[in-house]
């Protein structure tokens, strides 16, 4: 870990300005991802702006019947919120399927959205990795890629976005609210928040330098049964091989997003349209352009089967 200076900001605007002001500065929320990577010198900020005092830790109703989740609401608190449990069950389910109790107590909504890939080559500074060191190559291509992406990948990077919460947010059509260093705010639809790797895999998302996430808003509830099916080798405390976030309505229609398959939560709206035709129809559309490796080709039939389980569960609910 490189030496760094540390400050605590008092307001969102101040925090954004503080990060923008100093080259190499970063926000620090729970720290569960950033510190992990700093220890390996994969992240090397010179200055940390701790955002814990920004008072962004509330969950409030929005005027149009949705919920506004402060950026610093912890995973534990968000998952436990009675409104979320009742109206956005997929979100609670996704969160409690992730990480561990200890980590969820610390992890924040913004930090979770921004967690970086778990590609093992990204995590090993000895290995070439375009995400860690642009232009160095991608060791995962042709290497051990069982966990990695099957779709939306590029010749430069086949990493996945590893998180769970964002997959549920994708199916909920959440919006990410931010404030920039100059004090302007914007609202980014979750669909446009994370990026595909393309030839710039070092960019995970579309935030600008110094842009602070202040909240995530959820539109008004859409009913239906809520499901998060996370498939993994061990029963808990493991990242998804494939996950399925779905909301299914009584008539069998619904929406679905997949985790563990791409550089972002994967949702193809055209695939939602065929939900009533069953899992295979949905994944045929959702994974039409898949480019899996030998190691991870199983993820595509797995996604189909996991969705089939979800649909069956929806029916019996």
């Amino acid at each position: 870990m490189k030496p760094f200076t540390y400050e605590r900001a008092k307001t969102p605007a101040e925090a954004a300005a503080a990060v923008a002001r100093q080259p190499g500065a970063k926000f620090l929320a729970g720290g569960t991802n950033l510190l992990d990577l700093m220890k390996l010198e994969i992240e090397t900020p010179r200055h940390l702006v701790d955002v814990q005092d920004l008072k962004l830790d509330r969950i409030e109703p929005t005027s149009d019947g949705g919920l506004r989740i402060g950026a610093l609401v912890t995973n534990t608190k968000l998952a436990a919120d009675t409104r979320v449990r009742r109206d956005y069950g997929v979100l609670t389910r996704a969160i409690v399927a992730g990480a561990s109790g200890q980590l969820r107590n610390k992890a924040t909504t913004a930090g979770n959205l921004l967690q970086r890939t778990r590609c093992p080559y990204f995590y090993d500074p000895n290995m070439p990795c375009n995400k860690r060191k642009p232009g160095s190559g991608c060791a995962a291509i042709g290497g051990y890629s069982r966990q990695l992406a099957v779709i939306g990948s590029s010749d430069h990077c086949i990493a996945t976005y590893p998180g769970d919460m964002a997959v549920a947010m994708r199916v909920l059509d959440a919006t990410v609210e931010t404030v920039k260093a100059d004090g302007t705010t914007r609202a980014i639809p979750i669909a446009d928040f994370h990026r595909l790797p393309g030839d710039t895999p070092h960019l995970d998302n579309n935030l600008e330098a110094g842009e602070l996430i202040t909240a995530v808003t959820l539109p008004r509830p859409i009913g239906g049964t809520h499901h998060y099916e996370k498939v993994r080798d061990r029963a808990s405390y493991a990242f998804a091989l494939v996950s399925v976030a779905a909301i299914i309505q009584k008539d069998g229609s619904g929406r679905v997003a997949f985790g563990g398959v791409a550089h972002k939560p994967w949702r193809v709206e055209a695939a939602d349209d065929v939900m009533t035709q069953g899992a295979a129809a949905v994944t045929a559309k959702a994974f039409a352009d898949a480019r899996p490796t030998d190691d991870n080709a199983f993820k595509i039939p797995l996604a189909t089967r996991a969705l089939a389980a979800t649909i069956a569960e929806g029916r019996s609910a």
């Binding site: 540390y6 200890q102 000895n126």
Partner: protein, 213 residues
Amino acid sequence: MMSEIEISRRGVLAGSAAAAAIAAAPHVEAQPAKALPPATMPVSLTINGKRRDLTLDTRTTLLDTLREHLQLTGTKKGCDHGQCGACTVIVNGERINSCLSLAVQHQGDEVTTIEGLGTPDKLHPMQAAFVRHDGYQCGYCTPGQICSAIAVLDEIKRGDPSHVQADLTQRPQLTSLEMRERMSGNICRCGAYSNIAEAMADVAGVDVKEMEA
């Protein structure tokens, strides 16, 4: 037959026989010689009820603060990356991994470590249950397991949801399944899980065999 390929840390060469991109050794750009001076900061926290005032390198984790600066070595370092749970402590009533937290993040916080729960002569009920049920072997994961076990029973009581809960709108039940799911952030490589579950059931006042069902 040993073909050697010269590689430099700065360059990336493609194509050994296996057509692999060849790794550069670590550390790409040279660090400017004028690195920032190591930053230190004052931190005060309350640990096991006792206020501690320290001046620390900003890089110091809560875990290393406890272990190296305060000699509270009961909290263990198993991985230093949030992957094992050995470093679990209770901060302001919530369990966290102290390895993924900087001391400076905890200005003014109340920290309870394994040393604050009980002593060999006056064990906390969960500590006593671990001894009774042999909920450990090498003992290295144990302080973390015990801190988590205490927190987990509280979390169930509080009604926090879990991955294994059938109906999210209901309160979670005190079952073995619930406890095991919630304890999963504490790895025991010695494999004492079954006995830890019994120790927890004992403290919670339920029968582990019935819970299994």
